[in-house]
Symmetry: C2
Subunit: 184 residues, 2 copies
């Protein structure tokens, strides 16, 4: 999943993620990205052939941050421990990157890429399987959807915008444990 990027590419992707978070993917033009980096559009096009390539690279970059936690969870024979591990990483990431979460989970353009690229599909599949095993009953489905949605939805919500990361994280984890019956 993770790819090595040049410094120029990394700067572009960072600026793009930031702008995507503020204006959505469709609401962000290459001109805006170029301005944010401090170069011209042509310089951006030198690094990425199309806007779509930037969107895909940004998505890859963010998913890759879950990779090591996912591998650790897959290697962990104790399912409860594996869930614990993944959950903590996901919550950490969601809290740290609050402003970015809504783009990655809910932007229509990103959603289409996630649904359309096999690489992304397989990664998400691994994530869900590591968390829930092969239990695909309706209860598990709804619970997973709620858990995933609750984390994303909660960190985005304006009501918690003023809470510091540590407060938000600890409260989140408490409520989540209640939700999925993990031991406190």
């Amino acid at each position: 999943m993770s790819k090595s990027r040049s410094a120029a590419q990394t700067r572009i992707l960072a600026a793009a993620l930031d702008l995507f978070a503020a204006h959505g993917v469709s609401g962000t033009s290459l001109q805006m990205i170029a301005d944010a980096v401090g170069v011209t559009k042509a310089a951006v096009y030198r690094q990425f052939k199309t806007k779509d390539e930037i969107v895909i690279a940004v998505t890859e970059m963010q998913l890759a941050r879950l990779e090591d936690a996912l591998e650790a969870a897959e290697a962990e024979p104790n399912r409860t421990r594996a869930r614990e591990l993944l959950l903590n990483r996901v919550v950490d990431m969601a809290v740290e990157q609050r402003r970015m979460v809504s783009v990655l989970q809910f932007d229509p353009v990103i959603i289409q890429f996630l649904a359309g690229h096999k690489t992304f599909q397989r990664f998400i599949d691994r994530l869900l399987r590591a968390f829930f095993g092969d239990n695909t009953g309706t209860d598990s489905l709804v619970q997973t959807a709620m858990l995933s949605g609750a984390i994303s939805g909660a960190v985005i919500h304006p009501l918690v915008a003023n809470l510091d990361d540590e407060t938000l994280r600890s409260h989140l984890l408490l409520v989540i444990r209640r939700l999925i019956n993990l031991p406190d």
Copy 2:
């Protein structure tokens, strides 16, 4: 909040909401809306002077669907009953309109309008107050954010895309009651 609209306006708003849900607000052009309705751009501009007016009207239209439930909740002296009332309506709406939820809650353009227009702010304030009273402790904040996020996030999630409305609603309500300690 609710406004009376001509038939032509109603058709435009319905088409716009549908397209917004699929492509986001920024990803939807007036040409696309006009094509969906089956008229030209000029005909659309006759009903709404700007694209922004359409976005605001769509948002109003959807918020207005909560209005009677909100009034009923405000009139209810028993707080638990009031919460019950609102919760049921919100969940019903979220499940019925799954495809639209993400736009209304997470689209950057809509969010900016919600934050910038006093009419919207007051309405949302009333909603929160009817549900949580004047309790503004951190616990309540996070709980409300999670509840709101969990409902929106859950109904949007691809994992539950194949569940019928009734199944999704009943499961959702069960988990939510556990989350907020309402009696079953």
